[in-house]
């Protein structure tokens, strides 16, 4: 085969690329082994957070990117794969720790998997800031702070809005039943309803259904049909909120509906009156301020004490105009477009 000179040279060239690649790798390791770490001139900050296919996270990513640009930070965003969330949570955290960044900002969705890894990062000398999820664990894990929303406060805010509309019997739709943060939101709603003399019930959607709009609409519709007293619904993401609107229309029921998370669809549904209110978690701030505080902590040891609340912020007809102008002028900041 290699009697032909050209093919011999082709093979040699091919193998050389592989060998040179490996040699360069060794050189790269030797050369850069001393770089990185807190002594480097450009701070390196790694985010481990949700996938950009989930409409909640692009504003968070955009906020973090903007802050990295404004502050001159070398930024790496590692998205967790929601389809294989346990294994992905472990692999992404391990990859983040292996990079030994100056600070690590993490969304703690699957707490049994991520908490031990947060502790491992801290033991290795990487300061960890918990972002958006992990409200109850961040302190015990040793992270230096938390930014985001608290579940109970969010549920209470939703409850206040529904009570204002005259709702006495509420439904809370939980689209990720294993997530403690979302469960606490429903519990917050229940507490608010009870204090006002009403009640609330939670509908957990099977995780397999939660991303299928048709199934979600059917599940909510079926629940409405069997629970005639429900006057108000609180949903926990934009897609489910839209599906609840559809379900109520199909069931011909007059219900007051509010949801977490802004999106083009929920904003227009708010405009047309199909949705009564939106709860804005302001993920852009989770990203921007999360990056900012990680930077000030890594560089100077300074950060806000305790948990920083970026929500709940209520959006209804009274402040809709401002929201609309921002969505038009700055796409990707408030929600999915």
């Amino acid at each position: 085969m290699f009697s032909n000179r050209r093919s011999r040279m082709k093979l040699a060239g091919f193998l050389m690329v592989v060998v040179v690649g490996a040699a360069a790798a060794v050189a790269a390791v030797a050369g850069t082994a001393s770089a990185g770490g807190a002594g480097g001139s450009v701070p390196r900050i790694v985010f481990v957070s949700g996938p950009l296919t989930d409409s909640f996270f692009p504003p968070l990513y955009n906020g973090a990117k903007q802050a990295a640009h404004d502050l001159g930070i070398k930024f790496n965003y590692i998205p967790i794969n929601e389809a294989d969330i346990e294994q992905s949570s472990a692999q992404t955290m391990q990859a983040a720790i292996a990079q030994h960044p100056d600070a690590l900002v993490v969304g703690d969705f699957v707490t049994p998997v991520v908490d031990p890894l947060i502790k491992q990062a801290i033991k290795k000398g990487i300061p960890v800031y918990v972002d958006q999820s992990g409200q109850d664990q961040w302190q015990a894990d040793g992270a230096f702070g938390f930014i985001g929303q608290q579940g109970p406060a969010t549920g209470q805010a939703g409850g206040r809005e529904l009570i204002k509309d005259g709702v006495k019997h509420a439904l809370c739709v939980n689209n990720v039943p294993g997530n403690p943060y979302l469960t606490k939101i429903c519990m917050g709603l229940a507490a608010a309803m009870k204090a006002a003399g009403g009640d609330s019930v939670m509908l957990p959607l099977p995780t397999a259904d939660s991303t299928d709009p048709q199934k979600v609409t059917q599940d909510i519709g079926a629940f409405l049909a069997s629970h005639k007293s429900i006057q108000g619904i609180l949903c926990e993401n934009a897609a489910v909120g839209s599906d609840a609107v559809t379900a109520a229309q199909q069931a011909n029921r007059k219900v007051h509906i509010g949801t977490l998370a802004l999106s083009k669809q929920t904003i227009s549904q708010l405009q047309s009156g199909q949705l009564d209110f939106l709860i804005n978690e302001q993920p852009y701030l989770d990203g921007y301020l999360g990056m900012l505080f990680a930077y000030t902590y890594a560089k100077y040891g300074l950060s806000p004490i305790g948990a920083v609340a970026t929500g709940p912020a209520i959006v209804d007809k009274s402040n809709l105009a401002k929201i609309l102008s921002v969505v038009k002028k700055y796409p990707g900041v408030l929600g999915s477009t």
């Binding site: 009697s3 790798a25 082994a33």
Partner: protein
């Protein structure tokens, strides 16, 4: 001149590289013999992607102990599934149900040890029985109906996935169950040393066993013969039905093992665990040199295929490139690896 495709089809009828070239009286050089081995392509893919990430991301932690452990662990879990799947594909059949067998196993183990607080070994034993039954069903239905195994196992994928969700909701009203780590089982399946999981040992041990079976036993010959041409093999006296059913069972048990390892590692049971293996398992097998048509390949090839996928899927986390395009990069790197693999084979067999 012999083209690559006719070379592949010669391999597909069961000739090993020791028989090639037939009767020409020419001895092959060591280089050429090495390049003709079924696993060389997978090795090249793994070497190419490793070199790439070592150069571009080596300084960012890809080559550190923790970074290496990250992709090696991922490769080992994928490898547990890809190994028996690879043997099954050499024999000419597919199994798509592996995606839901992993999830169903995690539900069984988590309910037994978490919800009912029994010893995890009970859940593991039940999962093994479940895996055997699934494998038997897949194999026997494929043989009796003569339908393509792709279709049969696609239906079992959906049935098992829905059934696991139903059982989970019926028994515990939840689709996500935590499993408490008690007893010796977590040590056997989920312990780790310096970041490297014990699943690596399981994986390499099973690869050794599979290689021995393929190369040194008559069962191994039967596997290649069945994949090359099942009808001819049957006429030659090979018990093709027995071979196929055994391999379906082995594939399901591989998925069960992966499910047990992951459930005990994450201390959590979820129906969706391992759903990705439907795609990544077949990808690892094909990158490792097993032909989609069957009849050619090796167990060690699936090792390199799993390693390639592990390196690519974890390596992207070290690049710091635009996060919107993470999945795009994974696809591109895999394609590059497979193209490099193909080019090398063409060079190896292209000039007679």
């Amino acid at each position: 001149m012999v083209s690559a495709t006719s070379e592949d089809s010669k391999m597909a009828v069961g000739l090993s590289e020791a028989d090639w070239p037939p009767e020409t009286g020419r001895r092959l050089s060591v280089t050429r013999r090495f390049l003709l081995r079924p696993e060389t392509g997978g090795f090249v893919s793994a070497a190419v992607v490793f070199s790439f990430f070592a150069v571009v991301a080596g300084g960012n932690g890809f080559l550190s102990r923790l970074g290496t452990a990250d992709w090696v662990d991922g490769a080992s879990q994928l490898g547990l599934v890809a190994l028996p799947l690879g043997l099954l594909m050499i024999a000419g059949e597919f199994d798509l149900s592996i995606g839901s067998v992993v999830g169903a196993t995690s539900i069984i183990v988590a309910i037994c040890s978490g919800y009912y607080s029994l010893s995890p070994w009970i859940g593991i034993a039940l999962s093994v029985v479940f895996g055997i039954l699934v494998g038997l069903a897949n194999g026997l239905i494929t043989i009796w109906t003569k339908l393509p195994s792709f279709i049969v196992t696609l239906s079992s994928l959906l049935m098992i996935s829905g059934g696991a969700l139903g059982v989970s909701n019926w028994l515990t009203s939840a689709s996500n169950i935590t499993a408490e780590p008690v007893g010796s089982a977590p040590g056997v399946f989920a312990s780790s040393w310096e970041g490297f999981d014990v699943s690596i040992l399981w994986w390499l041990g099973l690869v050794g066993a599979a290689t021995y079976v393929l190369q040194r036993t008559s069962f191994g010959n039967w596997v290649y013969a069945t994949g090359g041409n099942a009808e001819t093999a049957r006429l030659a006296g090979v018990p093709t039905n027995r071979v196929k059913v055994s391999l379906f069972v082995a594939t399901s048990l591989g998925a069960v093992l992966a499910g047990v390892v992951e459930t005990l590692t994450f201390r959590d049971g979820n129906v969706t665990l391992g759903a990705q293996y439907v795609f990544t398992g077949i990808a690892a097998v094909v990158i490792g040199g097993v032909l989609l048509a069957g009849g050619y390949g090796s167990a060690i090839g699936t090792v390199f295929g799993s390693i390639t996928y592990g390196i690519v899927s974890i390596g992207v986390f070290f690049l710091g490139w635009n996060a919107d395009l993470t999945e795009l990069f994974i696809g591109v790197f895999l394609l590059l690896a497979v193209v490099a693999n193909k080019r090398l084979r063409q060079m190896a067999v292209g000039r007679a």
